[in-house]
Amino acid sequence: MNGFEVVRKDLEDVSTLFLKGYLDAHTYPQFESALQKLMDERRFKIIVNFSDLSYISSAGLGVFMGFIETVRENAGDIKLCAMSPKVFKVFDLLGFPTIYDIVNDETQAHQKFTDGSRTN
């Protein structure tokens, strides 16, 4: 009923995951395996695009926490972008803006990565 879809696009060393539909307790394993695949391929610069995501539940939020440590240990990051106000509210409630970079659009997210690598 509540479909969910992950589409992945790679640009140089940055991978973007486009989320679509409902990310909840039923669909989060799909998202999890997409992230796990990136980990297996050792791609740690990840952008998650929320523009088409209509709902996220606490189980969906948990997925981010499951990977962020590994990603950051490997000099990568997960940047979140293009959230609808509703989705942002959920992230905000949980205090995610203090843990993750949340930006308005994908270009900004890419910019964050390039800025970051220059300073490194």
């Binding site: 606490s58 499951g66 205090g95 203090t98 843990i99």
Partner: protein
């Protein structure tokens, strides 16, 4: 069972009585030299009675239904031979004399001595009795696989036979196929009888069900029977006298019966012999088919009730041996845990190479052998026996089709098997969901031991086996499911006990300040992730907790128990909610898995000072409603267990609210705000405020009820997708001194970084 026995005895008694009276009558007639027709008539009447009585008795009872076909054949042969034995014995003892007297019209021989009378009588009676029983047996054979017309045809034959006999007796001439010597009427009847007899003699369907050996014996027996039957008419017993002559001299009725029966037996055994001969070439194949059908029936009957893998294997291997006459059969199953492992195994030691189990059945012992025992069965020089089978196994895995090797020692695929006694081999895959899950092997010590039919029947067995194994698996799964459901029930019960069983009454010593509480949690599934609790603290303080553990089920229940323990034990040691939550996060972060976290709101109400002190760790805001306005208080703070403390400690904020009379606070979980109706709309904060407003004059319990009812109404038929928790606090403050000068809302706004 007693009644028919008595009836039978009665019948036998009457038959014997009638025979005795016949004997007496004939002796009397002989000595009295009476040649009156009435004497003959009386004799015939006696014989008709005997005939009817025996036929009635043997047709009526079902005694011939119970005995097997071979027994019937043996019995009828014995009966006919008995006539011979009795006949020759009598003739040899008394040397009877017969003449053809003129008074009888020159057609019938008559005894010329009393001894001859006796001999004729005895032979006549024995023949009558034996042939009656023979007729009954033949009837039961003819009625085998009866059709609608079978009884009709038979009884028409019997009817016309009886008429013919009667006609012959009336005419006073013995029945013969020499039509000229018969009376015209008799001849016509004889022809009709013969026609119906011929129709009946072709009913030999029972031959097909005999096995090869029985068919062969039937063929031999048939030849003997044909000759014996013909002999009753033709064989000369004494000086120019045949059996027929003697019986005719006793009674024309009995003679005609002997004649007709002899013809019948002769024709029937002739047809039987020819049929048995024709069936002989196909008998072996027929036997095999029957065996296959039987074993297949046995398999499907037993295997569906087997839920034990070892028993399934034993049954299958035994039945394959039965159906194909194989010398040995064994099963090899793929290991479920390692399905990609190659089908390679060490049969000899049955050490079972990685990923395999081998089950072996040796026909001679008919015993299912477990790994350790089987090693003794294998000759020591066949160390690599099973690795020799690698090539057939490869091809089975590829094509999923049976492999048939009929000359093992010449075939390239099995050339390594040279030293084994195996001459032919068949290997059939067991397929489940298009995957080869095992292989059935059957071997014989002769070349060309298996054919395509064997492959087909073993494939059928393989299908059954696959189904049985599948059934076993499903049963296991459903048991597992049942067990999980049971665990969830227990988790649910535990969880329900973690939630306060009663709501505390909170007031100060003078009862001027009271906190009225209404609380509930509604789990969406058996075990939810929502939780609320109250903690009694020193200095007239009360802690109120609402939390939501990410995820559901058993793990959520465990975390819930953990957080309850942590908060109950730590709450008294920290002066502010912020400090408490920092401590809680420190403990939780170490014990939670990275994907899980807890959002929580903790409020500390002090009845003494009339202050509500709270902090929020990633949870929904606190709703504060007073006389004319409402606010969602959302101080910053991230969820518990997300961070090792670096960010958590920096972001968490403490808020202090000075409460006034009739202030209402609502602590809730996201399940309340995000409750969706069938159109996918969320309940939302606006509706929550409206619910509270509507019920604001009522006690906290009723305000809570109002909120829950509104959510239920809103959701309607839609399925709840998250737990719903709601704790309503309503303040009664009669202590006017404690009223703050400034409105509460402004005070709060100042303390928040929005």
């Amino acid at each position: 069972m007693e009644k028919p026995a008595i009836k039978d005895k009665l019948h036998i008694f009457f038959v014997l009585l009638l025979f005795a009276s016949g004997l007496v009558l004939n002796s009397f007639l002989y000595y009295a030299k009476l040649r009156f027709g009435w004497g003959e008539m009386l004799n015939e009447l006696i014989n008709i009675s005997v005939l009817s009585l025996i036929l009635y008795s043997s047709f009526k009872t079902s005694r011939f239904e119970d005995i097997s076909i071979t027994q019937k054949l043996r019995l009828s042969l014995l009966l006919v031979i008995l006539i011979y034995v009795v006949g020759y014995a009598c003739v040899a003892t008394v040397q009877p004399e017969f003449i053809t007297p003129r008074y009888a019209g020159g057609f019938v021989m008559k005894p010329n001595s009393w001894a001859a009378v006796m001999v004729a009588n005895i032979i006549g009676m024995v023949a009558l009795a034996c042939l009656c029983v023979c007729l009954a047996i033949l009837r039961s054979l003819i009625f085998y696989r009866r059709k609608k017309n079978t009884p009709t045809n038979f009884y028409i034959f019997v009817f016309f036979g009886a008429l013919t006999m009667l006609s012959a007796a009336m005419a006073g001439r013995p029945l013969k196929y020499d039509l000229a010597s018969n009376h015209v009427m008799t001849s016509i009847l004889l022809v009709v009888t013969t026609v119906f007899m011929t129709i009946n003699v072709f009913r030999v369907g029972w031959i097909t069900v005999l096995n090869r050996r029985q068919k062969f014996l039937t063929f031999l027996g048939g030849i003997l029977f044909t000759m014996v039957g013909a002999g009753l008419l033709a064989a000369e017993v004494g000086s120019g006298v045949t059996f027929a002559d003697m019986v005719n001299s006793y009674s024309l009725m009995a003679g005609s019966f002997l004649f007709l029966m002899t013809i019948f037996i002769f024709l029937y055994s002739l047809i039987t012999t020819i049929n048995a001969l024709l069936h002989l070439p196909t008998a072996a194949i027929y036997d095999k088919k029957v065996r296959e059908i039987n074993s297949f029936y046995n398999l499907s009957r037993t295997i569906n009730s087997l839920f034990d893998f070892d028993k399934i294997v034993t049954t299958v291997t035994e039945l394959v041996c039965d159906a194909t006459n194989a010398n040995a059969c064994w099963l090899e199953m793929a290991n479920v845990k390692n399905p990609t492992a190659r089908y390679q195994f060490d049969f000899v030691a049955l050490k079972t190479r990685e990923g395999f189990t081998v089950h072996f059945l040796e026909l001679s012992s008919k015993k299912y052998l477990h790994k350790d025992k089987a090693s003794a069965m294998i000759p020591s020089n066949d160390q690599d026996f099973l690795s020799y089978l690698a090539q057939p196994v490869e091809s089975i895995l590829q094509d999923k089709k049976p492999v048939l090797v009929n000359q093992v020692k010449r075939d390239k695929r099995t050339k390594d098997l040279k030293r084994s006694p195996i001459e032919s081999l068949i290997a059939v895959p067991i397929i489940s969901y298009d995957e080869v899950i095992g292989i059935i092997y059957a071997v014989k010590s002769v070349q060309f031991g298996f054919d395509q039919d064997d492959a087909a029947i073993i494939s059928a067995f393989a299908n059954q086996t696959s189904m049985a194994i599948e059934n076993t698996r499903l049963l296991k799964e459903s048991l597992e499911k049942e067990r999980l459901a049971q665990e969830l029930r227990i988790a649910h019960e535990v969880q329900m006990r973690l939630i306060p069983q009663e709501i505390p009454r909170i007031h100060n010593s003078s009862k001027t300040v009271m906190l009225d509480i209404g609380a509930t949690t509604l789990p969406a599934s058996e075990v939810g992730g929502d939780y609320y609790d109250f903690v009694m603290l020193p200095d007239m303080r009360t802690g109120i907790v609402v939390a939501d553990v990410s995820g559901k089920g058993t793990s959520a229940a465990f975390y819930m128990a953990e957080i309850k323990g942590i908060i109950q034990s730590l709450a008294g040691h920290y002066p502010s909610p912020k400090e408490l939550l920092i401590a809680v996060n420190d403990v939780l972060y170490c014990s939670m898995d990275r994907k899980s976290f807890i959002t929580l709101i903790y409020a500390d109400f002090n009845v003494h000072t009339g202050e509500l002190h709270f902090a929020r760790a990633g949870h929904c805001p606190l709703l504060h409603v007073n006389s004319n306005e409402h606010h969602f208080l959302q101080p910053s703070g991230i969820g518990l267990g997300l961070d090792n403390g670096r960010i958590f400690n920096e972001t968490i904020e403490d808020v202090k609210v000075k409460v006034r009379h009739d202030d209402i606070f609502v602590l809730y979980s996201d399940g309340l705000i995000e409750a969706r109706n069938i159109h996918g709309e969320e309940f939302g904060e606006e509706r929550l405020c409206q619910s509270v407003e509507r019920a604001r004059e009522h006690p906290a319990e009723l305000i809570k009820e109002s909120i829950v009812n509104d959510v239920r109404m809103f959701v309607g038929q839609a399925k709840a997708h998250d737990d719903l928790t709601c704790v309503v606090l309503k303040v009664h403050n009669m202590n006017k001194e404690n009223e703050p000068k400034t409105p509460a809302s402004t005070l709060i706004q100042k303390s928040l970084k929005v």
